[in-house]
Symmetry: C2
Subunit: 554 residues, 2 copies
Amino acid sequence: MSFTDLSIAADAKILPIQEIAERAGIPDEALELYGKYKAKINVNALPTATAHGKVVLVTAISPTPAGEGKSTVTVGLADAFNQLNESVMVALREPSLGPVMGVKGGATGGGFAQVLPMEDINLHFTGDIHAITSANNALAAFIDNHLHQGNSLNIDPRRITWKRALDINDRALRQVTIGLGGPAGGIPRQDGFDITVASEIMAVLCLATSLEDLKERLARMVIGYTYDRLPITVRDLEVEGALTLLLKEALKPNLVQTIEGTPAIIHGGPFANIAHGCNSLMATNTARRLADIVVTEAGFGADLGAEKFMHIKSRKGGFHPDAVVIVATVRALKMHGGIEKGLLAETDSDAVRRGMVNLAKHVDTIRQFGIEPVVALNRFVTDSESEINEIIEWADAAGVAIALTNVWEQGGAGGLELAALVKQELDRPKNFSLLYEETDSVEEKLRIIVQKVYGGADIQLTDKAQKQLVELKKYGWDALPICMAKTQYSLSDQPKLLGRPEGFTVTIREIMPKLGAGFLVCLTGDIMTMPGLPKQPAALKMDVGVNGEAIGLF
Amino acid sequence: MSFTDLSIAADAKILPIQEIAERAGIPDEALELYGKYKAKINVNALPTATAHGKVVLVTAISPTPAGEGKSTVTVGLADAFNQLNESVMVALREPSLGPVMGVKGGATGGGFAQVLPMEDINLHFTGDIHAITSANNALAAFIDNHLHQGNSLNIDPRRITWKRALDINDRALRQVTIGLGGPAGGIPRQDGFDITVASEIMAVLCLATSLEDLKERLARMVIGYTYDRLPITVRDLEVEGALTLLLKEALKPNLVQTIEGTPAIIHGGPFANIAHGCNSLMATNTARRLADIVVTEAGFGADLGAEKFMHIKSRKGGFHPDAVVIVATVRALKMHGGIEKGLLAETDSDAVRRGMVNLAKHVDTIRQFGIEPVVALNRFVTDSESEINEIIEWADAAGVAIALTNVWEQGGAGGLELAALVKQELDRPKNFSLLYEETDSVEEKLRIIVQKVYGGADIQLTDKAQKQLVELKKYGWDALPICMAKTQYSLSDQPKLLGRPEGFTVTIREIMPKLGAGFLVCLTGDIMTMPGLPKQPAALKMDVGVNGEAIGLF
């Protein structure tokens, strides 16, 4: 018989969530059950404790379109620590329903390194993303109602930057015209929908440290500009209280479990391009209060995910990772070695050797932060011994710690070697430092990221971006960290430039201030904030069995 | 100090939902907790039992825009039965978030006749409506993706009848153009958004009797027509399984409690104009399995709510109400007596007497079904003794059972007299009959409703409706019950014709087949399926307190 993620999950023994809570040291009064296997954590009811846990960040080399199994390694590594009797929790992002309906492939790990109950997590879970959709679109309705009711704030309908959102892949909503049909339909204007995980509210929720901080961040969000080009914020509309009310339950982290019973927090899932791409700060810091080791991940490769994790999330959260795992696969290394997508399953040790430069760059990048990374070579059945040896020889020569992982098939047992290497790094005293300060100029911050993290030569701002920069400085919005929106496939801003490109210039096309999230999104290409569906959406295979069980969900 | 619904709710003693479940005879294994005070009921895990409970339907005279307190009386009557040690449950609709953000006023009863936890119920509750929004918009995305990917079904983009939905009041989305921006944005076409509670999926969920029935109904829904004018259904798109998967948890009824600890099921909330306007059949029949008496309500006045309850919901559910309560207020009677909105608080017994004709017509209507209605005169502090006496004298003369209720202020104790009268009617043998058969012709069904329920003379179909009728017959869709979409303010189709108009003709402007719901929506005027926000939305007063408590929510 053949295993699927869904069949493995369905056969797994799942424990009542109260038992998981007990393992994690969460008292009953802090637990709000959502069915038998999910719960929200009321962090105010946790026993007072400092956030002491050490953080293991799982990141990756520049990935193939299929991904390198970062979530799977994250879950497997946590299960390995659990097998070694360490006090451990895993913190992951919440999956978006849009891609679930569109493309086969979950976001809850895979095989025997999964979080459960996978079907709930991949469908509506505890409703956090629905709450964000509601708040996002309530705000949009308040804006258009303001226009309709006389527009006393003098908002320019052509300069409204706040978009509507749905948690769906729907290309037909990318560009729309609203307010049609005469006076009863409000004021006509151009608009568009983003997928909910690309909403600034998702980024806000993921960086908020309390309800009060959430409200303050929501109030700061810029929704557009007046006819006099002055910014209009949520505070001007006086609806930050209502938006906070809609989000108050969504701010509470969600407790679930891995297939091996390791406590897991799954909370928040901002897009990794337009936002910072990691689970909520609330989740990570709650896990740090409860466990000695917290294994977490960041979206895309280390040039995007790890860089933003350091400069945005952990900077705000007052911590830094104590170890970094870089997930690599033979497949991705071959791609960086110049092999085409259709031929990646064929043995080619030379290609692996050529592609190693990409991994080497990510290793160098992490070392610049003062952390010695551990490479996790995530095994696939198509990998040959000669290819694997090629990688191990390179690592030995370069003095890089490396472990083979096989957690999809073996669960935590397939990650024990990795856990041992990570533990060594956790225990090593280190001298962590960020690569830039928030108070550096925007150009300086951009240049540091491009040169030190991407290995490029310089930056170049379009006329549009230069004008925006002038505006930013005028409003005093320039002392914020950068959130780069760049292709994940290349270290450069050109998706086809694989391996370790050098001497390139990164073009900054647009700078979007996200004052609620507290960062400046810098666009370097066409960033898709509303995906489309494929010709054969995954939904076509989905169904419900006679006992209400999910069918065809991965 | 002054009481608000929210302050009363906040001060109420709320019991753990497990205690309520125990009172209702729901075993632990059938209970899926959502926090401490809400649960979903897995009806398959209930002890086998026939649906034996008798149904009390609470309806009303033609209402004022503020409503006559139907939900409040429904809750208070159930609490009164509970005080009398009857085995009782209450079944209500789920509130929509759109009106909650727009207009101050809840949908969970009021004062001391409320359901709890009111703030959760009025916000995201257990996510049912969000699941419907997701399924509705997933279907829309599948349709537009089908057009974009080659349109093998030959769907005419100009004849797509499926609209998108959001659970929000947002007039700017009533009429939109989607698919703009070139090929990456799909195929441009006109579209619009309804409020989620107006989605056919809401009606489908509320009439489905099992997961299988839900899937079959979803499959039958017509989404538009081909260039050859042939209907296209969800089954043609092969996504009924995926939609059912998105809705499988939403189909489970939600258990909560009244302020006096009476078990309450709140589940489903279809719009009362474009749909049938009562809670789910699943909820009512689950309550009938658990309790001897089930108190439930239907939207708007008896001409709409009660008529549809009889001809659509209870017909499908295989039961009929055993008693009907008609809620009347001095205020509404004065309005029907010709008094303007601003003067309704002033004593005017003559106006009350003149307005009584409206109540008399609704009493006659219910009698036609073979049920002797009980009038609940829902007291307001502005009512005078002389006005109340006027009504009681009329009732005595007309042989109509009437009880004063004061449940807002007194809870169940304010409904004991009403409960006693209702109990008499429940125990009386009766000869219930519907006014039309599904197999009657569409014109015949319409004429019966207009003449027997509205007291009008005849019907008239516009050219458009006549053409639609020809199509309906061609496809064999005519043997379905009628779902009238008519103003609630008048017995006629003209909102300003108050009292008891006679001799009027009702114009049927459009007939919309809803094959999933299993009824034909007949539009008699401009029916608003997406409300707008007022100049000062209720949201402006909303906030969250330091301990996460709701502020300004009613």
